[in-house]
Symmetry: D2
Subunit: 147 residues, 4 copies
């Protein structure tokens, strides 16, 4: 018998700023990709990690290999988006973050960012590398079990 | 026997501006979503259309319902991205634009934007509507036949 | 004898997000102009106002006529900027907001935005207009007496 | 008798992109600061320089110490801004770039960026340094004589 803890959801919020809006009067679709990344970084900070950090003397970073977002309804200036963050896939070398944006009961958008764990060489070149155990331990609670 | 004209590709280019870069020294991933939209609008202008326009006395616009991008390699400050634009799906009420970014022979990214044709009501509310014949006629040449 | 209340300072904070940074590894200078506007809007909300609002049946808004910023030191990814907001000039039809950015004891930047009070006509055109008494009453406490 | 060549003006243009607009339907004021920087970098490229470059084995860069912009009229989506660039001050260690934005005969905005010439140390720290003769020679033609 396997007992698994229910997955944890990280929750944050972000107000639509005037500079995020466009001439259609709503948050420009590219703003959601910024919001997703900001929520990812906030989750990392909440568990003592950073998207740029030294792990066992090695600089680790997470270039994005893919991102997508589906838009269901519009978000206007000064509305506050609630953002729920989970991890939908935790691979050996990559993470897929998933994000759900709501305003009260209204669905606004949902999206994903897939990032690959990389070591930064002294010449700034990147090589993919297994996710360090420190990251795995702190991020696994946010993994959503696939139904 | 059906004779179909080979599909047309719209080509443009865009230099990575300093404000597009991030602390990792490369174009931030969100910049590609802006580049995609700018290339879409440039294609529309090239055939005499606009993303906001009056068609038969009716204001038409194209809210985004979905967008995604896959990143293969990095683009640095001042590099010039060549952008190839096609239409991968032309539905009754929606268009899926597809974009391929290269720097010389190097693949950099490829992505999509799906937009829905909408009428703008006097109170600014949007209702999806069939794509006007004017748009269909001018955009069909960019449709890529699915293999 | 004139008794004047000491001026009030509105304080907020903003973290340097990764999308705000540039290839020099610091917050891009244009990010400070966004931060200033966001702090202005936050101050307005804190006193029950908005940068777009109906006042006595009239839509009022505040186009910018001037903005400037001086940069003293750099702000890095994930640093938290403390922002102090005052009003350095409250004219009949315009406001000059002043902003001071610090990180702990370190001066980072200081800037200004001057905005003009305008009525929005039904055709969206703007006409400058005296600042409504409601705004004057709520904003006067933030006016810094000129030494 | 002194003979001075009339100063040279660098001219470029930039279309207002949809992502540059805001809910007021015009180019957001922060977009002009991006446009100014992009025009500065374009001028540098036009004379064979770059804002990041090796000069006599030394990495040189130009952090901004000040920027401002005055706004006279509005720029809408898809309008093309003509940008005239000059240098209003060429100091021993700093440059003040000046920019004038027009749409046909209409004045839209004018602004400045002041940048300081710095050497980049191996640890990425910056130290101000006299502008290299190579830069002076190539930039002096753009200096506007003060009347």
């Amino acid at each position: 018998m396997t007992l698994t803890a229910p997955s944890q959801t990280f929750r944050t919020a972000r107000r639509v700023e005037f500079s995020d809006t466009d001439a259609a009067g709503i948050a420009h679709f590219t703003a959601f990709f910024r919001y997703m990344e900001q929520a990812e970084h906030e989750l990392l900070r909440s568990v003592g990690l950073s998207v740029f950090m030294q792990v066992v003397g090695q600089e680790i970073t997470w270039p994005r290999v893919s991102s997508k977002c589906d838009f269901r309804s519009m978000a206007k200036f000064e509305e506050v988006l609630e953002i729920a963050v989970n991890i939908s896939r935790l691979g050996e070398k990559s993470i897929t973050w998933s994000f759900r944006f709501t305003i009260g009961p209204r669905e606004v958008a949902s999206g994903e960012i897939t990032a690959v764990c990389c070591r930064v060489a002294p010449d700034s070149s990147l090589t993919s590398t297994p996710i360090p155990p420190l990251f795995l331990a702190k991020l696994r609670p946010f993994l959503t079990p696939v139904p």
